[in-house]
Symmetry: C2
Subunit: 614 residues, 2 copies
Amino acid sequence: MFKVTVRNNEYSKVYTTNKGKNLLDLLRENGFYIDSPCNGNGTCGKCRVKLILGNNSSARAEEIKVLGREALESGYRLACRYHINSDIDISIDQNDLQAKILTESIQRSIELNPLVTKVYNVLEKPALGNSISDYDRIIIGEFNDNPFHLKNLELLRSLHDVIRKENFQVTLVIDSSDIIAVEPGNTVNTLYGIAVDIGTTTIAAYLIELTTGKKTCVTSLLNPQKAFGADVISRISYIMQNEHGLEHLNTLLVQSVNICVAMLCKQAGILPADIYAMTFAGNTTMQHILLKVNPSNIASAPFVPVFTSVVKVKARELSIDINPNGTAYFLPGVSAYVGADTVGAVLTVGMHRQASTSLLIDIGTNGEIVLGDKDGMYACSAAAGPAFEGANIKNGMGSVNGAINSVSLKHGITFTTIGNTKPLGLCGTGVVDLLAELLEVGIVDETGRIDMAWKPDSPEQEALCERITSTDGVNSFILCKADETLSGSEILLTQRDIREIQNAKAAIAAGIRVLVKNAGIWFEDIKNVYLAGGFGSYINIDSALKIGLIPVELEGRIISVGNAAAQGAINVLTSKALLPVAQEISKSIIYIELSNSKDFNDYYIDCMTFEQEI
Amino acid sequence: MFKVTVRNNEYSKVYTTNKGKNLLDLLRENGFYIDSPCNGNGTCGKCRVKLILGNNSSARAEEIKVLGREALESGYRLACRYHINSDIDISIDQNDLQAKILTESIQRSIELNPLVTKVYNVLEKPALGNSISDYDRIIIGEFNDNPFHLKNLELLRSLHDVIRKENFQVTLVIDSSDIIAVEPGNTVNTLYGIAVDIGTTTIAAYLIELTTGKKTCVTSLLNPQKAFGADVISRISYIMQNEHGLEHLNTLLVQSVNICVAMLCKQAGILPADIYAMTFAGNTTMQHILLKVNPSNIASAPFVPVFTSVVKVKARELSIDINPNGTAYFLPGVSAYVGADTVGAVLTVGMHRQASTSLLIDIGTNGEIVLGDKDGMYACSAAAGPAFEGANIKNGMGSVNGAINSVSLKHGITFTTIGNTKPLGLCGTGVVDLLAELLEVGIVDETGRIDMAWKPDSPEQEALCERITSTDGVNSFILCKADETLSGSEILLTQRDIREIQNAKAAIAAGIRVLVKNAGIWFEDIKNVYLAGGFGSYINIDSALKIGLIPVELEGRIISVGNAAAQGAINVLTSKALLPVAQEISKSIIYIELSNSKDFNDYYIDCMTFEQEI
């Protein structure tokens, strides 16, 4: 048997294996995602690893060809060609794994050590001469030294009945070093948690089986607070102007969370009482509202939230219908506008551990941007407004059935809709795609103006001419005619819509530049660009570059990472060691206030146009 | 200037003083109670201290005479004769101090370090560039590292308004390392706590100013649960037989505690919101009922309580009307029948720190007995019944106005009543006094029988003859005739009453013997006997010895220590370091179950008679 030590930025792990084992097979069997398009034929070179210690003598012809002598001499080998015949110590380059690691391997590499665990305990039965209290009886053994203070009244009140119900066999539910509940009998196999990302627009909830770390099911809802405005400022205004505004918005949010809990329980066939932990990511305002904490000062300078640290409370204190002894953990945030969602996303993409510089862009109603590496990070929040979520756009809509989510004008007018229905409107990705295409063909010029006098370059473009129109003094491009749509009304992109997008993209682009300047680096120094959030995940990256949302200099390094904020909440739920890591991230990120920044204003004006700077 | 180091079992302290200072004066000025009946004249020898280091050369004639050469050579000196002319290191024998220390010096020697403290904090005001959260703003400085988790929802919800109310000047309220509340402005001088002893019969509450440790005022109430039986067994039966029995008795107790809080606040002119901590001593059943925890198993073998450890909960979780963020601490107990009241009493008398053996007897409805020293303690609970509290006695009553509390038959029949009113009945001390006197004159014989054929020894006793009577077959002694009493009815001690007292005193006396046997010691080894509780404090010690409640061998070593349980709760309130000490005491006491003890049954029968064993 040989020992194989696998290292990367994050950890090192040791495996044992038989002589002759193929290294790529070993890594895959142990949950590493190794890209190998040639399927282990030694031709693509993607499975290269660096041999730090061990037998580096017998490089194969394929390796010499694919890696080159220099790389071989530095210790690089192809995992697919390497057969283990000594103890070895290898390093896997984090960056080589990232393209896929985000949805698979990072999750896999997290050690399962959930916030809440269960322990089964067969108690000694009371007798004369063994009449210690019920509580002392359950804490015999590993929990003997703690807790010093009994704090859990609910537990004390139920203990008498619970331990006698299954003849002194009990299951302890442990959260940190506290026994938060005791269940009769052996229930160690039934233990669930829920991770929730509360966005200004949508709420997404994930049921996680804490005994395995498995994502059991997922659900989402629109945030019912939408009726009180699309952005956090409108919500806060409502709270400030109405005596019971906070209670009202809190109740709506709690109800939505409870609906998610009920839906997840129904899908999975479990009971709310089986759920003992919840983690919440979400922007700072939503965290405040869910905790019924006054967010007023978030709305005006100097933008002071009441809290940004980790909050840990009983779920029942928030009227959330999981087990009454269950705990609700709130991920920490950075500032009023860089919230726990951003910290969750940083945790997910792992940029706080990486030696190379990463840029994270989470575009929701605001655009939170983080730039940095393991030695430090800067963050800002660009007030993009909700245009990318389809709001404030004449025919804009959320990413639901009927929304046009991609557009091409290359061969006439073609588009796709979510759900493949007749179109009803444009979601954010559709708007960006359409605008990018209009810029490409020249119907919209570099200043963002619709050129009413536009002339086609080719016969294929002629059909576009009739789509350029002006109604009540507002110039527009008609994407769909009335008879093509579900509603029977035209779907337009107006001059005003384009201005909204211009403002939004200029804010994000300028925010990126401010961080780059603060960090004292160049665009070339950024090795990875992570696009997070629903919009970020589904956007056509070419279109985003075309409209200047992301600097063109970053082309080729952009990865969509899905709902990284929610994944951060899931990761904390399944690995409690990440909670202090999240706290550390939240404290170490340097927040740059853009409203106070002359640079931002200058860049913002520069970024308003659609000129390509390269 | 010289340094004087004073040591005892408990601590060492260093004082500085000028050359020539009298040692007794120095000790007294620093709060040590040193008994000195001769008032510093060097004749009584009570102020002796042991010189460990320092000038031992110039013993005076008085010291040689009073202490003897041997003691002098061992380093003993009279403090009143010793003038400091070098650095010295002295030891004060704890036992020398005890007679008075219980009501004065133990309290004085406790360092004021209350469970809850306040800190005034002038915060930096928010500004652009200083927009950290409200919570991070208040924890700047000494609290910066903790707590990692925000747990206090009430505090988070009020923080926004509180810190702005007095222009960013706040007072933090600290409990352990947690900030439990924040008040606007500087309120450090207003901080109170309440210590409560919940007895089966009475509830006593003490308001303590936590900034000084001063006992501000005291109040007490009868436990309204008395309507459900005089002892804990009756209360538990009620709970077991009635669906909402526990809720009902809990409500009665919480109401009484709230009445005490209100009365104390009114007396002191403070607000309930000024009270941030409460400590509760009380027997195990009362602790369970106040926490609304099922006490059923306390009533039957093997007598298993739900908890005996320290409990720490928010007062509002118990519906107790102090500050909503205030904390309720429950002192720990030992077993079903040796409760937190006993642990509190041990803490007060300090027997857990003493090298010599002590016996503590706390006589309430049950008699809890503790025997031991710093190396170990045994405890038991003797089911004396409520006879000593005046219950189950024909004309018995509590210690309130009109109760006969002392009796003499030496010169005719004389007695005193509480409040100096006409008599209404007999309280426990009156019953014991009367019985001791009847034994003395021979009207009651050694077996406890009223001698209906009794003849007086002297003319003075002749008046007693007519008081010996028999009604409906029950023999009695008439203490007061109908026309002498407040009610217009005779006050009798019946043969049945005497049997009650015999049972009760036999239980206590046998319990003492069981502990002595378990400890493997003799009565002579017991250096201090502490009588705690209301009955123990007011009882005529000679009468207690006469009826055999306390073994006559212990005569001369008996000290009444008042409500030592309540004093224990006060001590914990004012010195948080005593909470882990109390927990340690509760865990180290070895509980002896008497219902399981053949020895107890044997001793019990032996102790039924009124024979004096010496």
